[in-house]
């Protein structure tokens, strides 16, 4: 498989930097029949010309189940009562821009983010919607089938693409999921090498730690090194079949983690003071967001935070106003402010969204059902133009009034901001070409146009 870290490097390492093995890997990827070394070097030298990417990392706060954005960021105060719901809009730091009353913290940082109110697609399922969102490809399975993770066994997720294209820039893995694996966050045909490192532990727990990160210190470096050398000596490469082959890849990743002191520091939330931890909220989403900031500061490229319980079909308002919205409001606003205070916001893209929105009309059980035709998405940092509201939905919030934004548009924009070529094509094991994003266009208004 082609390793594009090189292709995106800012300096040209020259021919000596290429091992034979790497060239074999490039050849075997089938990237382009006839790709020769000079041609490859030429590609490498021209990579990155055009725009200078500003986002080095992305924190993706995923509100799984479908957030009720009509109650949060796109209120309809003039709609009939069964549509507008019980919440009042409040003004924000940006004159003329309003959000729901339970998003008062986000209102205060409205100048640092931009709301896109026209995200729209037509897959109303959870597992299929997650698949569509994270891969930009329609699910080939029925919704609800196979909810064991990951469900994207063919197409790579956005995080896996970032991992492949940008690679690590520090001691932590380039792609991390916390506190659970994202339903469709898998690597697809990119393979285990681009699977997320999943921190199987919730940072909101008092005894949170990433287990087994370090070898036994009592052994000392010499013996730990000897063990790894011995293992390499008795286990030749090859014979990588099925699950056992996958395990080998995980071993390589685990070794990378162990040998990194920055990783240990990045995962250590106890280094944060109580004030900061409180500001993010002592919730799963809050503490995961804080951890995400630490991971990004240590070089992680893509952190996917999985936050559930947004599928509010029944009696939605009590749980929305008491838990879901405040948790999201605190986590998002604290994360954006914190990144800004540390001077990291410019190079860190923050996205908060779910796989769908909710029905404008409140149902008979006082809940809202799935509504993928209109969802508001929050963006901050990473080179987007802040303080804007992009697009609008109609009077009842049923659909965008103009120019709906597709999943492919969002993915393409994320990749653009990170300096990734969305038209780059890889071949599936069966030889079918699959571009990083099929279709879509960059959301110019998010970039300032």
């Amino acid at each position: 498989m082609m390793d594009s870290r090189d292709a995106n490097a800012t300096h040209c390492p020259g021919p000596t930097a290429f091992s034979r093995r790497r060239m074999l890997k490039i050849g075997a990827s089938g990237l382009l029949p006839g790709l020769t070394l000079p041609r490859f070097l030429q590609l490498q030298a021209t990579a990155g010309t055009g725009s200078t990417p500003r986002a080095k990392s992305c924190i993706f706060l995923f509100l799984q189940g479908g957030p009720s954005t009509i109650d949060m960021w796109d209120l309809k105060p003039d709609a009939p009562v069964e549509v507008r719901g019980p919440y009042k809009p409040i003004s924000t730091k940006v004159p003329g821009t309003f959000v729901g009353e339970h998003c008062h913290r986000t209102a205060k940082i409205a100048d640092k983010m931009t709301m896109l109110r026209t995200h729209s697609h037509n897959d109303n399922g959870h597992t299929t919607g997650c698949h569509y969102l994270f891969t930009g490809q329609r699910a080939a399975f029925a919704d609800g089938a196979n909810s064991r993770v990951p469900v994207n066994d063919l197409y790579p997720s956005v995080g896996s693409v970032v991992s492949r294209e940008l690679g690590p820039r520090g001691g932590v893995p380039p792609y991390i999921n916390v506190p659970h694996p994202l339903t469709a966050g898998g690597p697809g045909f990119y393979g285990a090498e681009h699977a997320p490192f999943v921190i199987e532990s919730d940072p909101v727990q008092p005894d949170f730690e990433v287990k087994d990160l370090l070898p036994d210190a009592k052994l000392g470096d010499i013996r730990n090194r000897r063990r790894q050398e011995l293992l390499r000596a008795i286990q030749p490469e090859g014979n990588r079949v099925g699950a056992a082959g996958t395990m080998s890849t995980y071993y390589e990743k685990a070794r990378g983690l162990i040998s990194s002191p920055t990783a240990r520091l990045a995962f250590d939330l106890s280094k944060e003071n109580d004030k900061t931890r409180d500001a993010y909220g002592r919730t799963s989403l809050g503490q995961c967001s804080l951890l995400a900031r630490r991971l990004v500061a240590s070089g992680c490229r893509f952190v996917g935070v999985d936050h559930g319980s947004w599928d509010t079909h029944f009696t939605c308002f009590p749980s929305l106003e008491k838990e879901l919205i405040p948790h999201a409001d605190m986590a998002f606003s604290a994360l954006v402010s914190d990144l800004a205070d540390r001077g990291m916001l410019d190079e860190t893209l923050v996205v908060m969204m779910g796989e769908m929105g909710r029905t404008p009309r409140v149902n008979a059980q006082a809940g809202r059902d799935h509504w993928s035709m209109a969802q508001t998405v929050l963006f901050a940092g990473g080179g987007i133009v802040p303080g804007k509201v992009i697009g609008a939905t109609d009077k009842n919030g049923t659909q965008p009034t103009a120019d709906p934004v597709s999943i492919q548009d969002i993915l393409r924009t994320i990749f653009h901001l990170m300096g990734i070529d969305s038209d780059k094509t890889y071949y599936t094991p069966l030889g079918r070409p699959v571009p990083v994003v099929s279709g879509g266009r960059i959301i110019d208004s998010l970039l300032g146009a």
């Binding site: 050849g27 075997a28 089938g30 029949p33 697609h121 037509n122 897959d123 109303n124 399922g125 080939a140 029925a142 919704d143 609800g144 064991r148 893995p173 285990a192 490192f197 999943v198 287990k211 087994d212 370090l214 070898p215 036994d216 052994l219 013996r223 000897r226 063990r227 011995l230 293992l231 000596a233 008795i234 286990q235 090859g238 014979n239 079949v241 099925g242 699950a243 056992a244 996958t246 395990m247 080998s248 995980y250 071993y251 990743k253 685990a254 070794r255 983690l257 162990i258 079909h313 029905t359 009309r361 149902n363 059902d369 799935h370 509504w371 993928s372 035709m373 109609d394 069966l430 030889g431």
Partner: protein, 805 residues
Amino acid sequence: MIQLAFFRRQHCAMVMVLLLACSPSAFCQISVSPASIELDGPESTVQLAVWKPLPGGRVLELTRMARYQIIDGNAAGIDANGLVQPKADGNATLEISHAGETRRVPVVVKGVKHPQPVSFATQVVPILTKSGCNSGGCHGKAEGQNGFKLTVFGYDAAADHQAIVVEGRGRRVSTGAPMSSLLLLKGTAAVPHGGGRKIVEGSHQYKLVARWLAEGARFDDAVAGETVRLEVEPATSRMAPGESRQLRVVSVGADGRRRCVTTEAEFDTNAPNVAGADRKGLLRAGDVPGEAAVLVRYMNQVAVCRVTLPGSNSGFPRPPEVNFIDTLAWNKLSGLGLAPAGLADDSTYMRRVYLDTIGTLPTAAEARAFLLDKTPEKRALLADALFRRPEYADYRALLWSDLLRVDRDALKAQGSVAMARWLRHAFATNMPYDKFARAIITARGGISGDSPASFYKVLDNSESMTRSVSQLFLGVRIECAQCHHHPSEKWGQDDYVALAGFFTGVGKKVLPDGSEAIVAGPAVDLKHPRTKVLVPARPLGGAPVAADLPDRREALADWMLHPSNPYFARAAANRIWAHYFGHGLVEPIDDLRATNPAVNEELLDALAGHLRDVKYDLIAFTKSIVASRLYQLAAAADAGDERNFSRSMPRTLPAEVLLDAVCQVTGVPEKFSGWPVGARAIQLWDNRMPSYFLQVFGRPVRATVCACERGADPSISQALHLMNSPEIQARIRSRKGVAARLAASSLPPDAIVDELYLSCLARFPTPMERAAMVRIFGDGQEARRSAAEDALWAIINTREFVYNH
């Protein structure tokens, strides 16, 4: 340039095909189906298929290459894909030409000027189904979508008609202005629609729905037009990588009428890498050799086209045959062109049969003795001995505790212990499987007594009992039919409630001592959820049972265990097979149906027959499996076949087995809270025993009867745990452990390395491995100890140790 090579290979294959096709022989003639075409109604279509037979059972697909012309009359038209559509009543002749050959097909068109009224049930509902309107993710889900609720997959046309025409104050249809009906406006996304555009304006589906609306949006009970059978043509297809083939789907009505429904039918496949079909019914082969079942679904009926994609090596010499398993396996593999791997060596066989049969590694002493044994039949003798060991019963009881949901949180300790003890006893005494199944199905009595009664404790109503028993013992996932007709089976809701009627007499009772018991009294029939008519209890595809039995479950067990039962023995054979080969002949292992065939049907049938022949003696049956050469094939070393058993695939060890293996090779047992020292993880009845190791390696929570709950996916966390965890470090470094003991012995370094290899991998090290290991041994006790520890650590972290090969 693997891809390039691949395409070149393809290209050569294509050239050869063309050469063959052009040789002057009988194979040269093109074939066309159907021989004559009858179109009835303005929206009817007939899909044509054109091909040329090739030697070896393959065909050259021509439907999209042939030239079409209507030469006589103007009644019909045809597009480039070979889809014939009516234009006006009358006759026409269709001429098909390709490479100088021509065929003519007469076309008769009627019912265009005076069409039969559109049938809601047989024409409109299939459109809603193929467009996904009534899918489970949309209006078909139990609560509907945005107030509009259809029956999932359109199983209940009357309810769908009601929903479309009457509910919502009739606002969804306008018979006066059909094009303004909300149904069409939403379906074409002319007004906002959560599902987006599902029907294209002006398409044949659109016209059909529009005409139905214009005709008054009537409901017809349409018994005459009801599809009673579906035929797919071809029913089997032998293909080469990358080839395509046009399918034709014909619905046969209750009145015997045959209609082409290729455009209306839905297509699905069980092996997308081997073959699949698109919406138009164009079959496409992938490039992974094997077999695929392409499922065709229309109006509650299903049909299957079985596709074979042979590999390149069909002429391999047939290996020896130990028993019927090998005979049938080599038959299948020859047809697939997949040469079986060679015979595994003694070490591989030994480790494999130990781990599969008793969930335990051989010790170094056992391995040494077996490897040096010169007895010719030593493999069979080894297997015989394993089935007599207590770990056999421990391990089988553990795996069945998963399936029977022995969850301490649900059963309390008493219930869990009782079930675990009963299971262990059943396997220790080799209880015949029919007796075993009957005991579980008809269980009653105290849940802490010596019985499997606690199975019914975790199932809280007759329906969950039905679903669990059906999936567990019949391999039929009947739960689909709880809410709707099974999407890929013949079972409907009546079959479901009829089966549930066997369990309505089962109840729970609190005994005077406060413990719980399962009781079984007279049962009652259940109502059909839709029609509210009582459905007499009857087994799947069987006759109703007498209403007044003291315990109907006995009658169900009689039916299941009858030699003619088509499910019971097959499901059992497949389950055992899956355990010994890492995956079933049918996957998922408890989802047996015509539309999900076994990769080797003849073999599964023969195994089911064998299980009956040995009177459900599980040990006798399993011995036949492990004796077969197929079971003893060498492990896969590179990419290739993973489904057809042409070689042994590495399989994940259950969490408990791996933990026991680590304990055994380090010589330091795990201490489970409340258990005596030396207790092994495979003996634990307590699935909630705190253990990070068991959690991270995928111990199931036993929430369902599905074997799929046991996680088999590797993760970084597993790698980190094996390399770094303090728990495993402590074992390796223990003063009482194997490494310390070997270091303190008088053995020279190479003998220590031999011992470690034998205990971990049941083999001697290769010279290269031995040299690498011996090199780290220094002089002095401390150096020997650290070297032994590091050597042990390295072996535990190899793929070879962590997997069963």
